[in-house]
């Protein structure tokens, strides 16, 4: 894939260009994605907890996704795709910006990880042979707030899910607190690159649950991700800043 790839309907062109600029900096833990690096342990802990709950794992194995296929939509440079691969999954990473995909491929190679990175939107994947309904795990973290058509996006994620598969999505909530935390403080103080977020596009947990239900999914778990300046990111019952939804088909 390259820059001349036709841009699919659910990708907002302004958004894709923005992340492309950030690509080289993605993997620097003190770079512009520092906040993503810092929240990674918390969101991966949630992921692990849900994986174990769904597939009856005991939490101590190193490869709970062994033999499973995982799809990471909006993978960036692979901050989530690489851990999924280390946990044993055969991973497909999908991103709208080819610079991200290029950065992700380069990094995975350096880590000796084999990950199938593709440039495009979820509808491209659905169009590809044998991809629909073939993923045991579908993740899309901090992505849906950036897409042009969230309902079509969720429907696309649902279409990729294999029977008995698990879907985990995270996104900021649309509250006064999230505006303060992510935009006024986060972007205002330069901890998050400016113009990363458009608060008006954020979805509340109820709205996202509604989109999921419309796509034939059943939400199993809702969890908050809270940020404390002193302790960093923590899983919490409070969903007012950012939250996860875990769902299955049906």
């Amino acid at each position: 894939m390259n820059a001349s790839t036709p841009i699919p309907a659910t990708i907002d062109p302004a958004e894709a260009a923005h992340f492309g600029k950030l690509a080289q900096d993605w993997w620097n833990p003190r770079g512009s994605s520092a906040m993503l690096h810092r929240l990674n342990p918390a969101r991966l802990s949630y992921l692990r907890e849900q994986i174990d709950a769904h597939w009856q794992g005991d939490g101590t194995t190193l490869k709970p996704l062994s033999g499973k296929r995982a799809l990471d939509v909006g993978c960036g440079a692979g901050l989530l795709s690489e851990p999924l691969a280390r946990l044993g999954a055969r991973v497909t990473g999908l991103d709208a910006a080819w610079e991200n995909v290029a950065a992700a491929r380069l990094h995975a190679e350096g880590q000796r990880l084999s990950i199938d990175y593709r440039c495009g939107g979820i509808e491209d994947l659905a169009a590809a042979d044998g991809e629909a309904g073939s993923y045991d795990l579908v993740t899309s973290m901090e992505v849906i707030e950036h897409v042009a058509d969230p309902a079509a996006f969720v429907a696309g994620l649902a279409a990729a899910l294999a029977p008995g598969g698990l879907m985990i999505v995270s996104t900021p909530n649309r509250t006064a607190r999230s505006r303060l935390a992510l935009i006024t403080l986060g972007e205002g103080l330069g901890m998050i690159p400016r113009k990363t977020h458009d608060w008006s596009k954020f979805l509340t947990p109820d709205e996202l649950t509604g989109l999921m239900a419309a796509a034939g999914l059943r939400v199993l778990d809702r969890r908050g991700l809270d940020f404390m300046p002193t302790r960093g990111f923590r899983l919490s019952a409070d969903c007012s800043v950012d939250y996860f939804l875990t769902a299955v088909a049906g």
């Binding site: 993997w27 620097n28 833990p29 003190r30 690096h37 810092r38 990674n40 342990p41 991966l44 802990s45 992921l47 692990r48 939490g59 101590t60 194995t61 190193l62 690489e82 851990p83 999924l84 691969a85 280390r86 946990l87 990094h107 350096g110 880590q111 000796r112």
Partner: protein, 406 residues
């Protein structure tokens, strides 16, 4: 090229413990050390012994090393602290259900047990003897070239080389250090009367004199380790004394309460200092044990701090691996740094404070010490804290030190 999750430079007590614990949880390591272990172990008892705190012992048991040490250590039932030979010191005696304050082992026994465990560990590659020539840490990983031309790679480099850690120096990590102008003289003695599993710390104007109970060797004689601290300038003359005269000096400082004393090991000595690395992590690098911090052996906590480093790092790396993070991930190293730096500084500072309190000569200082000791004895929480420190139970404990699997 051989590859593992972590490359451990230094196969001493802390480095091997780390490798064995990581192996238990499926993380692989390559241990590189210039020392030839068969030569080190072939030498007889060198007189070095360590007080393994009860929390460190729990970890050794949890990772399977304890099985090789069962019955070989001498439990420390109580600790007596005295100002010279004057009566009225402090006695730390745990309640009957609390168990011992620590266990004394010959370092040789610890090395043997660790060696047995590490040889049986499928995920550990030992490169001993082997000398690293060059190591390189980049955002993508670490690579170490050995002098014999081999190259190994991994996700994280661990400096466990002891106080002279070249890895730490090469990383440009600054060290806060000061020396005490004192030398610790180490030896092992036989004595006529049994020690009753009591450890003694007797404070003389020149420095502390510690008697630590050991189990008898094959000859069945009562045996204790002696850590005798003197001014640096006086050490050469003391160490130059014939064995019998040296033993007589020890007997004098004991006040004769263990009866006649004879030396039963070679003597060794080292200058006392305190060092503390400004940071214990850098890009894809973590320091453990004396590479990170060296403290005065007055409370016997140097090795135990190293074990605590190992336990904390294992917990951080194993939990990281279970959520798919690479062992060199900056977030994991940040957690290790946060966890350990406070703890080591606390132990180091309190040990240093104790040394300074007891290291000042003169009558006033002696009075201060006596009042100080009396105060510690009267204030129950303070006394409890000293005991907890001796046991290694203060601070937020890694799971392995609580005897719980990670």
């Amino acid at each position: 090229m051989e590859r593992a999750d972590v490359i451990i430079l230094g196969g001493g007590l802390v480095g091997l413990t780390l490798a064995i614990a990581l192996d238990q949880y499926g993380l692989s390591s390559i241990v590189i050390d210039p020392a030839d272990p068969s030569a080190t172990l072939a030498r007889g008892f060198d007189g070095r012994a360590s007080a393994v705190s009860i929390t460190s012992w729990r970890m050794l048991e949890t990772i399977g090393v304890g099985a090789h040490l069962e019955g070989k250590g001498c439990p420390i039932g109580s600790i007596r602290v005295n100002e010279g030979l004057a009566p009225g010191g402090l006695s730390f005696e745990p309640d009957a259900d609390e168990g011992p304050l620590g266990i004394m082992f010959e370092n040789r026994q610890l090395r043997e047990a660790l060696r047995q465990s590490v040889l049986a560990a499928p995920n550990v590659t030992l490169m001993m003897p082997a000398r690293p020539a060059h190591s390189e840490r980049t955002a993508g990983g670490v690579e170490v070239r050995l002098q014999d031309g081999r190259t190994v790679s991994g996700a994280l480099l661990i400096g466990a080389e002891g106080r002279q850690s070249p890895t730490r120096d090469a990383a440009g990590i600054r060290l806060a250090r000061w020396s005490y102008d004192h030398t610790a003289m180490i030896s092992t003695v036989n004595h006529a009367h049994p020690h009753g599993n009591i450890a003694y710390e007797i404070f003389y104007p020149a420095g502390p004199f510690a008697i630590l109970p050991l189990l008898p060797a094959e000859d069945g004689l009562n045996r204790s380790a002696i850590v005798w601290t003197v001014k640096g300038s006086e050490a050469p003359a003391m160490l130059g004394l014939p064995e019998r005269a040296y033993a007589a000096e020890i007997e004098k400082r004991m006040g004769g309460f263990l009866g006649q004393v004879t030396l039963c090991s070679p003597r060794s000595s080292y200058p006392l200092g305190f060092h503390h690395a400004a940071k214990i992590t850098a890009e894809r690098l973590a320091l453990v044990g004396d590479a990170a911090h060296g403290i005065h052996p007055i409370a016997g906590q140097g090795l135990n701090l190293g074990f605590r480093d190992a336990a904390a790092l294992v917990e951080v790396l194993v939990e990281g691996a279970r959520i798919g993070l690479d062992a060199g991930d900056a977030q994991l190293l940040a957690r290790y740094e946060r966890w350990r730096s406070l703890d080591t500084m606390m132990v180091a500072a309190s040990t240093d404070g104790l040394t300074r309190l007891f290291g000042i000569p003169g009558r006033t200082a002696s009075l201060v010490r006596r009042i100080g000791l009396g105060a510690v004895a009267r204030i129950a929480p303070l006394k409890q804290r000293f005991m907890d420190e001796a046991r290694g139970q203060s601070g937020e404990l890694p799971r392995l030190l609580r005897g719980v699997a990670v």
